[in-house]
């Protein structure tokens, strides 16, 4: 999934660089990538969403 996410980031950056008229699509890809990133982190911490220390 991380591989896919970096491809999305790469595509978004390319659109910003070479196809600025597709800003909406590029920004949408950025948001999708952010959601994937956050989702993967939550998967990795789902057994204890809060920090695993004495709070």
């Amino acid at each position: 999934m991380e591989f896919l996410n970096y491809l999305i980031i790469l595509l978004a950056a390319w659109l910003v660089w070479k196809r600025p008229e597709r800003e909406g699509l590029a920004f949408g890809l950025l948001l999708v990538s952010a959601l994937i990133m956050a989702g993967l982190f939550l998967i990795g911490t789902h057994t204890s969403l809060f920090p695993r220390v004495n709070l």
Partner: protein, 499 residues
């Protein structure tokens, strides 16, 4: 204020993007490929978040400081700091130098990622503070020299990250792992996992979700015949005594001091009472301020350590008290909500354990031979075990610790039973043996502290919510939450003289 024009802002921003891309995001690839430091699933998320912040910076370079870009940066920064805290929490309690992979400049990469997110937020705030609003242009901007370099570098670094991600985590649905292998160009060394991180239930606190025990009430069967041990001999109660003096709260432990011919009682309302030998007269009485400096959950343990009184809370925080006719009432105001006077608090701190760090206690004892304080953990659904922890009196630091198991000559009543079914609520040490009363199954246990073994157990029918155990002569005094005290003769000892 003169401020910063948008044109100047773009140069500063492009430089910041270069630093962010070449620094943490680019260096991470070098560490992975050249030094074999593969990121775990949490590291990947932190790194990706930094890449996304750099990408958002490119949006600002290209399209200007639009609110949705700035909002995205703020959210990424906050989320990145949270990720760093959560990731750091896996290792922050370890000993010095320990952690996941290597440390750089005194901290591990998952900590530095949080610093980076914090710095990005700080830089964003600074740039917005000095940006001249009248200089903001509209439309698509050219990247310029620095911006062009930034976007080119970004494409290169993100492409390298994509390659590393493919090799170490694989294509979808494979994802990052908790303990990834080092990087290799050899495909036969690649390990791709799709479900490494999917096991286990979704919880907020995980193994730290520990119910706090009520030191005056244990919800467990009292019938000693249903206990986890097989063929436990029975002891009969010799008689009942009671704490006749009124106590501030429910009784939660009782200790006896033969040298001073006095008792120490503690209550669940932070009451500490020194009683005469007849349990009827109060010599000193105070109620601790549980919120001063060190939080004290309800008191659950009482012990005499020489002339020092130990009042132990369920969270292993404690107060040390000493009779002092010259105790300054104004000074002690900070320690005591109420006091009859004549007692000073001489220390208040916390005991730290290893095996029992996620467990509460409901008892404390003093071992005069070893000069150690001893605690017994209370089992919980997440941590079903009985841990005995010993602390040197000299510095009150952990000196040894062990988990109690059942072996010969004792035997479990069944294959699914264990010593962790006992809930020890009172303890006392004599001649190197820890005697502990369990509110579950109304049983007194004997643990040889030298051999670290459970060596004997006795069922005591008739107990109701035992909360403390004291030793007076050859008798065990089993204190109950209602203030009654069951007197039980220690087996193998000469009969106690009539009262």
């Amino acid at each position: 204020m003169k401020g910063l024009s948008e044109a100047r802002l773009r140069t500063v921003l492009a430089t910041a993007i270069v630093v962010l891309t070449a620094g943490p995001v680019g260096t991470a690839v070098v560490l992975g490929v050249a030094y074999g430091e593969s990121p775990c699933i949490l590291c990947w998320a932190q790194r990706t978040s930094m890449a996304l912040m750099a990408l958002t910076g490119l949006f600002v370079l290209r399209f200007g400081p639009r609110p949705r870009y700035l909002g995205t940066l703020v959210l990424l920064g906050l989320w990145g700091i949270w990720m760093s805290l959560r990731h750091w929490s896996l290792h922050m309690a370890r000993d010095v130098g320990q952690g996941f992979a290597a440390a750089y400049f005194g901290a591990h990469t998952y900590v530095w990622a949080g610093v980076v997110h914090f710095v990005v937020l700080a830089v964003l705030g600074k740039l917005l503070l000095v940006l001249r609003e009248d200089s903001v242009e509209s439309g698509v901007r050219p990247f310029g020299v620095v911006g062009g370099f930034a976007v080119g570098l970004f494409m290169l670094v993100v492409g390298a990250n994509a390659l590393q991600a493919f090799i170490t985590t694989g294509p979808p649905p494979f994802m990052g792992q908790a303990d990834p292998l080092r990087f290799s160009w050899n495909p036969s060394r690649w390990v791709w996992l799709a479900d490494d991180e999917l096991g286990g239930a979704i919880t907020l606190r995980g193994s730290w979700n520990i119910p706090e025990p009520d030191p005056a009430f244990v919800e467990a069967p009292a019938d000693p015949g249903a206990g986890p041990l097989a063929a436990v001999p029975t002891l009969s109660l010799s008689r009942w005594d009671s704490v006749a003096a009124p106590l501030p709260g429910r009784l939660t432990d009782l200790a006896f001091d033969p040298a001073g011919d006095r008792f120490l009682a503690v209550t669940d309302d932070h009451g500490v009472v020194v009683l005469g030998s007849g349990l009827a007269t109060i010599r000193h009485e105070m109620r601790l301020d549980p919120h001063f400096s060190v939080e004290l959950t309800p008191l659950a343990g009482a012990a005499f350590v020489g002339d020092t009184l130990v009042a132990m809370a369920t969270n292993k925080s404690y107060a040390l008290l000493r009779a002092d006719p010259d105790a300054d009432e104004d000074h002690e105001w900070r320690h005591f909500v109420e006091t009859s006077g004549g007692v000073a608090e001489v220390g208040r701190s916390r005991l730290s354990t290893l095996r029992a760090r996620q467990m509460y206690i409901s008892s404390v004892a003093y071992d005069p031979d070893a000069d150690e304080i001893v605690t017994v953990s209370v089992p919980s659904p997440h941590h079903p075990r009985m841990v005995i922890s010993r602390f040197a009196r000299s510095d009150l630091q952990l000196s040894s610790e062990f988990e109690v198991h059942v072996d010969a000559p004792l035997a479990l009543a069944g294959p699914d039973r264990s010593a962790a079914e006992f809930v020890v609520t009172g303890a006392v040490v004599a001649e190197g043996t820890l005697y502990a009363v369990s509110a579950a199954y109304s049983t007194i246990l004997a643990v040889d502290l030298t051999a670290r073994r459970l060596v004997a157990a006795w069922a005591v029918p008739g107990l109701e919510q035992p909360v403390g155990l004291a030793l007076k002569g050859d008798d065990w005094l089993v204190a109950q939450a209602d203030g009654r005290v069951a007197v039980v003769s220690r087996p193998g000892r000469s009969p106690a003289p009539p009262p």
